[in-house]
Symmetry: D2
Subunit: 258 residues, 4 copies
């Protein structure tokens, strides 16, 4: 499938500071960027910190005053196998080295705290069946709702609060999968059909020899996800890290099939 | 300097499970392993998950019942520049891509929570002077003491408790440096002159174009550290991750200059 | 029913300090103390801080070195109505003033955090039916197990850990009831038939015009509870508060029907 | 001194629910209410849950839709001895029974977590000198600032964040005093000269045989505080507890000397 993406964000920067941007479509085997344009107004000198290993595209620039960001891209996404059921877990010794870190707790996914719950609730399942059941549990026990969580909310908070947004659903899904010794990571993506349009956060688990995307909120089809960044949790995939202070003035996102 | 390392650990594994071992000396520009031997009793099939990028050496094996681990190595360590004072910070845009993740919060180092404290306490300093002052603050405000912290303790806990062991000192140092936008990571190491002998945890900060080791506990000289693993915090550098349950029966560590 | 209680505790006090003791049977309409004896060895000057309103018996003494505490009592306990089902909740305006504080969060029972969960899980029930369902949920979702929790564990920890001891079960039950606007408090008690014998922690809820005891662990019959202290949570009902440091050397409890 | 108080609050109640009001001036030896009027529009049936022991005045009513609360009072406040320095602490055994609960941790003041810090930082002081030094430490290490804390913030959060409002300053002061075995409690009050006018939260410590008011924010003179409620922390002294949902439409407070 091929998608056209448009994103436009305006910020007011209180003081001159550096900004790390992680909002360009990643390059990788499952998606090809045919055309793209990143535009800053006023224009700024952009340093590239792209990661050749992951295909992540990172831009750094210095901002001050009002800054408008505009990103447009045409991206072709390969068909993805999102099957979970009956897919076997990979033994630790057969995991690729890069998957090991996704077994461990992180800032917003303290997976060590959920080991007992996961054993108690899902202990009789394994591999993809276990992940599928975790996704079902989340869908049944959490409400999608804004205003409950904030930037400091962890998977523990969401587990207690029983509500949150895509970021929170993803954090809890990651924490539960890792607690079951299944590598799980966070992915930010432009998401076709997501309403209202926004950058989305979903989970990716390592099963049956490869990473598989899943959306614990069930709000966007996996086939329409245009991957941007991949990491341990929201700390790694934030689309913008401001090394100073700024205020969002306006933002708009659009993605359509072409 | 050249060091001879000996480590011996015995565990009782309640059930058959996989074990990830991260206790072999790393290979890298700052240290050379001349001779080493890892021995499991009873013998087990060891899979290697070594990381060619970081030089980390990871072994995976299946354990059951009583297992003895024996590791011996002769390692030559290069002279290290541990200077902090007057070393400038590196602008975000000039950081190597791999350093970016060490700017962010992690499981035990929620650096986002310390931004205000760091600005208030160390805001008039920058770069290595700021890191040096953070180390001094830690030395003056924390007591080195066992029994206060446990495996769940975070830098927040240590900041309140005002006491802990090397792992806790390291977590707080990392959290404070990251809150100051200085990349900081955790390093596990065999530590010459550390009393009692044990695996040590220290911090490494990115300043003046390279990583610099520092021991916030002040208990072991940086020149005598034999690096084992490097990561976000204790989750990444644990010398042993047991995917099941086990009990430590005995352990001994020794490191001497040769 | 009439019970004979024996408790014997030995502590080593590192330094001279004051100790607040809350281990004598309370006086009240639901139990009568026929005979009792509190003995300290070596003998110490005991100040009484008994509470005439609640019937709680508090003793303060100065301890140093090894101290043995011995308490014996014969207590007659009235038949208690422990019915929960179909008992109506009391409107806020009709609550006795002393019950109001048991609607609020406390150190180990942050009930405000559970409002959404309680509404989601038990929202269609009210009064005693809701409390009974909360007790059932706890019995089905928690394991009684030592070693999971410690003195710092809150109801939030127990909600995530899904295991704990009587204190933890009680904290979670209290937090959930208060989140449902039902006054709930902690009670320490000598508990007939509890195995192994120990001081027990149970919950008391205000329903149908009076306080009703319930044991969320289901390990001791309500009819055999000899009440000692009542309060917000473990902070209020600790049988001993040491204003200094001490180590427990040995303890034994016994309660039998006579 | 004699003060005239005016408070006016308007709320929108989403659904019919009960409301507990704790905003009337308390009756007590240190203040006399000469004239007062509480007015609800539309008029509602008010149940009184006043506490004869503490002098606290609690009103309960049923609200629905838009409700306006208006409170006016003339209150005479006795001269208060706010001396802290050189005032001795009271030995545990000589404390009045009602002071004991103010030695313990509460929802927002987990004093047990601060024992080591308090011993380390203020261990060489005692009694009022220690409390005075705690107040000085708070003034030097916290910024008075809105937007940092919220209704869930505890003394631990404030200790790390180093900023907050009167409620947060009070929680940290209470936690530190209790960690030093000095009874400390929260007091809500109309505060003469406070800018902008609002209900204020201050601390009260038990020293030298009686309770002594102190304002850790230093924003209002103790002589101009008209006491409303007293309790463990913000949970007890909230001026309004809504057993349902409501939104604040507007509020205004005024207090002037007459």
């Amino acid at each position: 499938m091929q998608f056209q993406i448009q994103a436009e964000l305006t910020y007011d920067f209180a003081e001159r500071c550096e900004v790390l941007l992680l909002m360009e479509a990643a390059r990788g085997p499952d998606q090809t960027v045919h055309r793209e344009r990143l535009e800053l107004t006023p224009a700024a000198d952009v340093a590239r910190l792209d990661d050749p290993l992951t295909g992540e595209r990172r831009a750094v620039f210095t901002a001050e005053g009002r800054v408008q960001l505009r990103y447009e891209a045409d991206v072709e996404v390969q068909v993805r196998d999102a099957t979970l059921k009956r897919v076997p877990a990979v033994p630790i010794r057969d995991l690729p080295g890069e998957a090991l870190r996704y077994l461990r707790g992180s800032r917003y996914c303290p997976s060590d705290r959920f080991e007992r719950f996961v054993e108690r609730e899902f202990g009789d399942l394994s591999g993809g069946d276990k992940v599928a059941e975790i996704m079902t549990w989340i869908a049944e026990h959490l409400d999608y709702r804004t205003g409950v969580s904030d930037a400091a909310s962890t998977a523990l908070d969401t587990f207690v609060d029983r509500a949150g947004v895509c970021r929170d659903f993803t954090h809890l899904a990651i924490a539960l999968c890792r607690a079951a010794d299944i590598p799980a990571r966070a992915v930010s993506a432009y998401a076709w059909k997501l309403e209202p349009p926004d950058l989305h956060a979903v989970v990716e688990v390592y099963l049956g020899g490869r990473w598989r995307l899943a959306d614990p909120t069930g709000r966007a089809p996996v086939q329409g996800l245009v991957r941007v960044a991949t990491g341990l949790d929201a700390t790694d995939i934030a689309f913008m890290t401001i090394f100073g202070r700024a205020e969002l003035v306006s933002q708009s996102f659009a993605i359509r099939e072409v």
